[in-house]
């Protein structure tokens, strides 16, 4: 079952690289939150109740509901529906994404370790590369936000790769990261003009 969820997660990443409608980004982020919840619940066998509540809150409450809601609000405010000013066309981005996937497979297999799950390592690396790709290749602030959220998901998957129990300390770290994500979205996302790339007041 976990493997299907992981494959679905990889599909969302491919779709993210090729999508141009902002609403699709929001849906994909929400779906990723849901998939992460499923993967975590199936993977973490020895988890205690407090940690379980933490994980469900992180994935369902924040990643699936709150963050997509805030993203929708930002998109609604900006009135922009498509990523029309990205630095490179979607097709090339898709090629980069496939390249990133291959690189992740090669890297994960060259880093074989008896303690960690190679599938998790592969998908975590691919998620990380996709997030970085979005930040580097897109020019809109909203795309950068989405890239950041994808990197947060990569961190979550990395922390799952290390074992069947997710310690509270890692949970606190991830929750703090999510809190910062929500702060960025809620505070800055709604104040800055997310439909522009004109953050150029500060320069030499």
């Amino acid at each position: 079952m976990i493997i299907y969820l992981i494959v679905l997660f990889a599909v969302t990443l491919i779709y993210l690289a090729s999508a141009e409608r902002l609403l699709n980004y929001v849906r994909l982020i929400a779906i990723q939150g849901l998939l992460l919840c499923g993967i975590a619940l199936l993977e973490l066998k020895d988890v205690n109740t407090a940690n379980l509540v933490f994980i469900v809150a992180e994935t369902l409450l924040f990643k699936t509901l709150l963050i997509p809601y805030l993203l929708s609000a930002i998109i609604g405010k900006s009135g922009v529906t498509k990523v029309h000013r990205q630095a490179i066309p979607g097709f090339y981005l898709l090629l980069f994404s496939i390249g990133a996937m291959l690189l992740s497979v090669v890297l994960a297999n060259s880093l074989i370790n008896p303690f960690i799950n190679t599938i998790y390592m592969t998908i975590a690396l691919y998620t990380l590369f996709t997030g970085l790709l979005l930040i580097v290749t897109h020019r809109l602030i909203i795309s950068h936000l989405i890239g950041f959220l994808i990197i947060e998901n990569a961190v979550f998957i990395f922390s799952l790769a290390v074992g069947s129990e997710m310690p509270m300390l890692i949970n606190i770290g991830i929750l703090l990261d999510i809190f910062v994500g929500v702060l960025i979205l809620g505070f800055f996302g709604l104040r800055l003009k997310p439909n522009t790339n004109e953050l150029t007041m500060l320069k030499d």
Partner: protein, 474 residues
Amino acid sequence: MLLLFFITAVLMVVLIFLLRNRTITKFISIGYAIMHILLSVYCWSNQNFTELRYFTFNSTGVLLLSILSVLAIPTLYHGFIYTRGNDLKKFNIYHGALITLMTFMSGAYLANGMTVLWIFVEATTLAVALLIYHDRTEMALEATWKYVFICSAGIALAYLGILFLGFIYGREDAASLTFSSLSVLINQANPMYLKIAFLFVLIGFSTKMGLFPMHTVTIDAHSVAPPPVSALISTTLMNVGFLAIYRVYTLFSSSSILPFMNRVLIFAGLLSLLVAAGYMLKAKHLKRMLAYSSLENMGLVAIATGVGGSGYYAAILLIVLHSFAKSSLFYQMGQLSRVLGTFRLDDCGNYMKLYPAGSLVLITGLFCILAIPPSGLFISEFLMMKGLVNNGQWFVLITAIILLCFVIYAMSTRFMHIIFSNPRQYPEFTPSGKVRPVETVTQFLLLGVVIAICFYQPQFLVDIINQSLSLLPR
């Protein structure tokens, strides 16, 4: 004691927002500074003692904590002056956020494990965001957004590095491990994991240390942050980033990847120097120029660490002295903007006539920050270069010297213009702002320490730096 410190700090911040009284806020802030000094004294007298499981008073942490204690008083003092004209809400937010930031930095200095250190570093981002956004302008919003976004992305990468450390250990409680328990496992680890972990940690925590390639975040933050806040971001917060990288470096130094780490640090250091020199030559904003100077100094720290041997001592000494010299220059920038009403180079001039005490700080600070004798920074840069000569790293040495010449030229010409020339834009401009010379005393004291270190290094300082280096290969 540490628990008491954290609880009191939280209560102080809560009281600031509950009581909403300017005088009480001032008293609370001064009380916090005194409490911080007491904490430093306690940590000095209980070195290597562990409290609350996740905090150990080791030498590097205690040294950096003490620097924060020393800078807390002038930062609060200049902060009181800066926020004088603010409404009560902004005044309280500023001082509440400042106490929060100093508490988070203290936690980061004393953390004995990577995850706890990471949590405190991440938390500093939130406090700094409040302080950068203090003036509520569009530029402040842009700078805060860039700071929070790039720091958060960078720190997420650093977290991946920490998780790679967990893969070495292979158990779910890896993140809770202390540096000392991890050090036992390092020699059995796959070097590839160590290299990846180091790269992630270096890139991630570079956002805080202000090192290339993540330096841009702090440069923009300096343009708009209140000068006393810039003084903290450029010194004690950069020290937090340095500490995180230094802890991992120390941890991995017993493994086979030491030459790799040294090469990466020297490369990052040289690139930092190159970027700093290039941008300082075209700098038009004084605080941005000082921010590039911090990039240059952090580049030197990275090179000194990568050199090894005497370079290690040079790196720590440079961190200590840079904190004092740079903070005094940033405090002076606050006064300069009150006198001249601007940070733009073209609008500045005749500072010697308008405020001689401030001009003396600028001249002394210039000598200190450029490591020109009698600056104590000269000792650290000399030790770094000696290490480069001993290692036969002539290319690095010559490149660094050439780039430093550009830095010296850029800073000297700009400072001399401010002090002695007429403003380029409006030569007849006569600003009305006044600063009392007594307000400059703290800056002279800090610069005095930097100069004194050139002639005499107290034994307690030498001892604690040597203790910090005890785990490194000599």
